[in-house]
Subunit: 115 residues, 2 copies
Amino acid sequence: LIPLSFLWDGARLLFATPAASPTIRNLQANGNVRLALGTTRDVVLIEGTADVIGLDAIAAETGDAFAAKAGFDPRRPSSPFVYFWVHPLRVQAWREENELAGRDLMRGGQWIVSD
Amino acid sequence: LIPLSFLWDGARLLFATPAASPTIRNLQANGNVRLALGTTRDVVLIEGTADVIGLDAIAAETGDAFAAKAGFDPRRPSSPFVYFWVHPLRVQAWREENELAGRDLMRGGQWIVSD
């Protein structure tokens, strides 16, 4: 459980964190991730799989967009960071108890709501 | 990883969630918890141990304070909820990278900062 900034590209979430961190060690042992966005009373929960990739494995424009969103750019000489993409398989969102019934927005990687 | 409201009593955090939930099952198998409060850029991380207790094992005024804070009161007839107290052992807080060096506020259950 760690706070990280991310870039959403419409289908995946992009993160960057040190290659030597427990986060990356865990992702390489078990690529399953669970993310929470938002607040307790307006939450998005995402379950998915993660692919760890090197700093040179990202498109230049994606790296630029990540840097603008996250407020830091891991692409610098001797950076200890790696990126990882999270591919959502399950997405849930709700505010209060009355929205729990309809909280599933994606199951098995397929959106079950329209835009 | 689940969004829950809590009451802070100055030393512990109080939660309530259904007795049959994965959260309670996990706490009863392994009482170690990790909590995140706040946002990515102003986060509080708490590691501690949890004690699960029944609805009748809480002081009336504590239950009232929980209901006021959480917006719901689990103390009702046939409620499937239980409470659990989290006892912090490690507390960290930081905003940006420049506060990482001083992020530890409690270690081994002892505050290492003054009020």
